[in-house]
Amino acid sequence: MSRGFSITARLRPELVATITATVAVIATLAVAATLLALGGHSPGDAFAALARGAFGTWDRFVSFTLVRATPLLLTGLAVALAFRARVWNIGAEGQLHAGALAGVAVALLLPGAGAVLALPITLLAAAAAGALWASVPAAMKTEMGVGEVITTLLMNFVALFLAQFLVQGPLRESRGVFNQTDEIPAAAHLPALLPDTRLHLGFLFGVVIAVTLWLFLTRTPGGFRIRAAGASVRAAEVSGRFSVTPVIWLSFLASGAIAGLAGWIQIAGVTHRMYEGLSPGWGYTAIAVALLARLHPLAVVVTAIVFGALSAGGGAMQREAGVPEVWVRGIEALVILAVLTADRIVQGMAASRD
């Protein structure tokens, strides 16, 4: 036993994290297999169908898995950044909607914007709207000491209902049939990333943001402050001699901006319209994506693809193996439980060494 512990202790923390996450995913699959079997399904068939749906062909992988991973990647990065600063932003879902609405509104209402400028302007608008949405809980936290878990969560409902109101009213399509907006002008569409696939430039944005965040957190004084404040507010203030308030603001606003981009990029890259129920809860799944990645921006790219694959494979699992797609949601939940449990176990092993 003690031999095992000391091996863990000697490994680099990143490696330990990777092993933990991998073990968690495997454990999840084992539990899911058991449950599937108990539910009268064949786990083998179900997983095979899921894997085919997610990775079966190049096109399945690129046009489905990666496309579905994109909003999870962006919101996952948003959550990871905030959590690094110990800002518990549960509001990526609301910030995503705020960004989506702002992007659509600008794209539809400012047709005069030249084609070249349409994308930059709408992207900026979406980021600004996401940041604005996050600024409310940020102000409540820093000015009044109101816990952000509640405020960011509640702001989600405000954003969702605002979106409903707008697509049913002021922004409703001119045909007036469905509760959705008109299609955005082609100039505001995100171009394809790979020819003949549905994968759009948004995925690349996500990867670039991931690398940028990683460099920021590990190589710059500002990122160092976020990590220090997130690890210990008192140590940051007493030993780092800086106030954590600006750090909280920065992480809140940047997190909101990235989540805001996620909403608009989904529209500009995939749906080309805003409608009710745009997001199946990406802003919440993002928490799992970020936690599974242990809040490491580069790892978020990987975990977002894992969750994108689950989402892309879920449909295939239902069609081909007759396993209801809702099982996928269950598997997602199991992943979170497994990661958190594995985390505790590894920490316990490290602690018992001392």
Binding site: R219, R225, R227, A231, R234, F242
Partner: protein, 542 residues
């Protein structure tokens, strides 16, 4: 007569620190037993062992003459040992009666009607103990004194052989203290033995039958209170004979047996000559500084001057404003009134090294970066110069003799002594003009203590422009050993100690004085207005 409780040769360690070292303790039925000691002397640990909250590493516990094995507070309660903690454990929304019923496992309804029987029992017990309690108001609306009486009643509803009170007077106003003592005498009169954990001498002498003094985890004395004076107790607590203390008189340089040789060497080499030149060179001046407001500001009218190359020792019992003083000197807190004239960045070794001095999940390099990351010379354009910071950290590990695998070791994996060396080394990097060291050797073993003290002394004694050092410590020995000048903090005031009075007894008495130090207010005898059977607590509700 059988002892109410007896602890036999109890030892309890926390990591490397021995909190109790083969301590014996005996409690007679019906006595009030004062348990005294400085911070960290082990008094709360002892109470917690008797209360079942901690298990001793070695030694035996007897209750009512029977050897027992206490594994939890529940075990202790079953044997008639009740504890009232410094922080009350009452449900704020519940009424006093509901809290008493809840604790004692009784059913009740919102109005207490279903359990009239229990209600009358509670009332009867309160009358018996002459406890003025408010049973029908939510606890949240009660004053501290009233809450404490409910705690006591709660603990005493069932048969109680031993009642443990952890610093019960710390939260009370002086009039309430008198009221509490009246209650305690009543309770003891009914046969319950009471352990009163405290650090205010005059209070203990006023109420206790016997007194036990602990010092650094060891038993120093147990005697009848009647034969003791506050001065004798102070001496026992700080643990230094009059003769030894007198011998050092004014001088830091008057070295004696207990000093770390390296510290003395550093002083001889660098010290005294350079210091007289530096005398006129202040590096920090506080003038009439007050922080906080109301009845008990954290600092009141504090004036001090720190000179280059001197070590100014600040003694005092924890929680008398030292924290605020350190924060002001380090430039982290602005005075509310008065002026602080400080030179640029100061080093600050905070008291709580593991939560404030370090980020435990960070490596040594990252912890050093806490001090350097804002520094332009450790940036390359927008980037942090990690290579440069790593070099500085490696040098620091070397210089401070930190035992760690490498500068990339996580701070949380280091021992307390090595953690403190990292903090000390890092703050020395910062301390151009001023170093504030708050209990820098608390919890360290002998070796690490020597190393850290030697480094601080060396810093103040060597070089052309040594910084001034403010050493804030609750360890009087440390202050006496290292400091050139000494002042004592009591209730937010800073009282300079004249050189001729620099002995442990005089300083100890100052440290432990309960307010007779000039703010004129409380602590005097004969203050018994407003309690008796009454409800004095109400007047102090905030």
């Amino acid at each position: 007569m059988t002892a109410a409780a007896r602890l036999d040769s109890i030892t309890r360690r926390f990591g490397h620190v021995t909190a109790l070292d083969t301590v014996d303790f005996e409690l007679a039925p019906g006595e009030i037993h004062g348990l005294l000691g400085e911070n960290g002397a082990g008094k709360t640990t002892l109470a917690n062992i008797l209360g079942g909250l901690l298990v001793a590493d070695a030694g035996g516990v007897e209750i009512g003459g029977r050897a027992v094995d206490l594994r939890s507070a529940r075990d202790a309660r079953a044997l008639g040992v009740a504890m009232v903690h410094q922080h009350f454990s009452l449900v704020p929304r519940f009424t006093g009666f509901e809290n008493v019923a809840l604790f004692n496992g009784e059913a009740w309804t919102r109005r207490g009607t279903a359990t009239r029987g229990y209600r009358s029992q509670v009332e009867a017990r309160a009358r018996e103990l002459k406890l003025a309690v408010e049973l029908d108001a939510p606890v949240a609306e009660l004053g501290v004194g009233e809450r404490q009486r409910i705690e006591i009643l709660k603990a005493l509803m069932s048969d109680t052989r031993v009642l443990l009170l952890d610093e019960p007077t710390a939260v009370l106003a002086p009039q309430e203290v008198d009221g509490l003592f009246a209650v305690l005498r009543e309770v003891a009169g009914a046969g319950t033995a009471i352990v009163l954990v405290a650090h205010k001498l005059d209070e203990v002498l006023a109420v206790a039958d016997r007194v036990t003094v602990l010092r650094r985890g060891r038993h120093v004395l147990t005697e009848a209170a009647a034969g003791l004076t506050a001065r004798e107790l102070a001496k026992a607590m700080v643990g230094r004979g009059l003769a030894a203390a007198g011998a050092r008189g004014a001088g830091w340089a008057a070295g004696s047996e207990g000093e770390p040789p390296s510290a003395r060497a550093a002083a001889d080499a660098g010290g005294r000559a350079g210091q007289s030149e530096a005398d006129a060179d202040p590096v920090a001046v506080l003038d009439d500084v007050t922080v906080g407001s109301g009845e008990a500001p954290a600092l009141r009218d504090v004036s001090l001057t720190v000179h280059r190359g001197e070590i100014l020792g600040i003694a005092g019992v924890d929680g008398n404003g030292q924290r605020a003083l350190a924060a002001v000197l380090a430039g982290m807190v602005r005075p509310d009134t008065g002026t602080a004239n400080l030179s640029e960045e100061a080093g600050w070794i905070p008291q709580d090294r593991s939560d404030e001095g370090l980020v435990k999940d960070f490596t040594i390099v990252e912890n050093v970066a806490l001090a350097l990351h804002g520094n332009a010379s450790h940036r390359r354009g927008p980037w942090l110069d990690w290579a440069g910071i790593a070099d500085r950290s490696a040098a620091l590990v070397d210089e401070m003799d930190v035992l760690a695998g490498s500068p990339d070791a996580r701070a949380g994996t280091l021992s307390g002594g090595n953690q403190q060396k990292v903090v000390t080394g890092r703050e020395l990097l910062r301390a151009g003009e001023l170093l504030v060291a708050e209990s820098p050797t608390r919890g360290l073993d002998v070796q690490a203590t020597r190393a850290v003290r030697a480094r601080i002394v060396e810093l103040a004694r060597t070089g052309d422009r040594p910084p001034g050092v403010v050493l804030i410590s609750t360890d009087l020995d440390e202050v006496l050993e290292l400091a050139d000048r000494i002042a004592v903090m009591v209730r937010g005031r800073l009282i300079p100690v004249p050189p001729e009075d620099c002995d442990a007894t005089a300083i100890g008495a100052l440290m432990l004085s309960a307010g007779s130090t000039g703010d004129g207010g409380h602590g005097g005898g004969g203050n018994d207005a407003g309690h008796g059977g009454g409800r004095a607590g109400r007047e102090h509700t905030t």
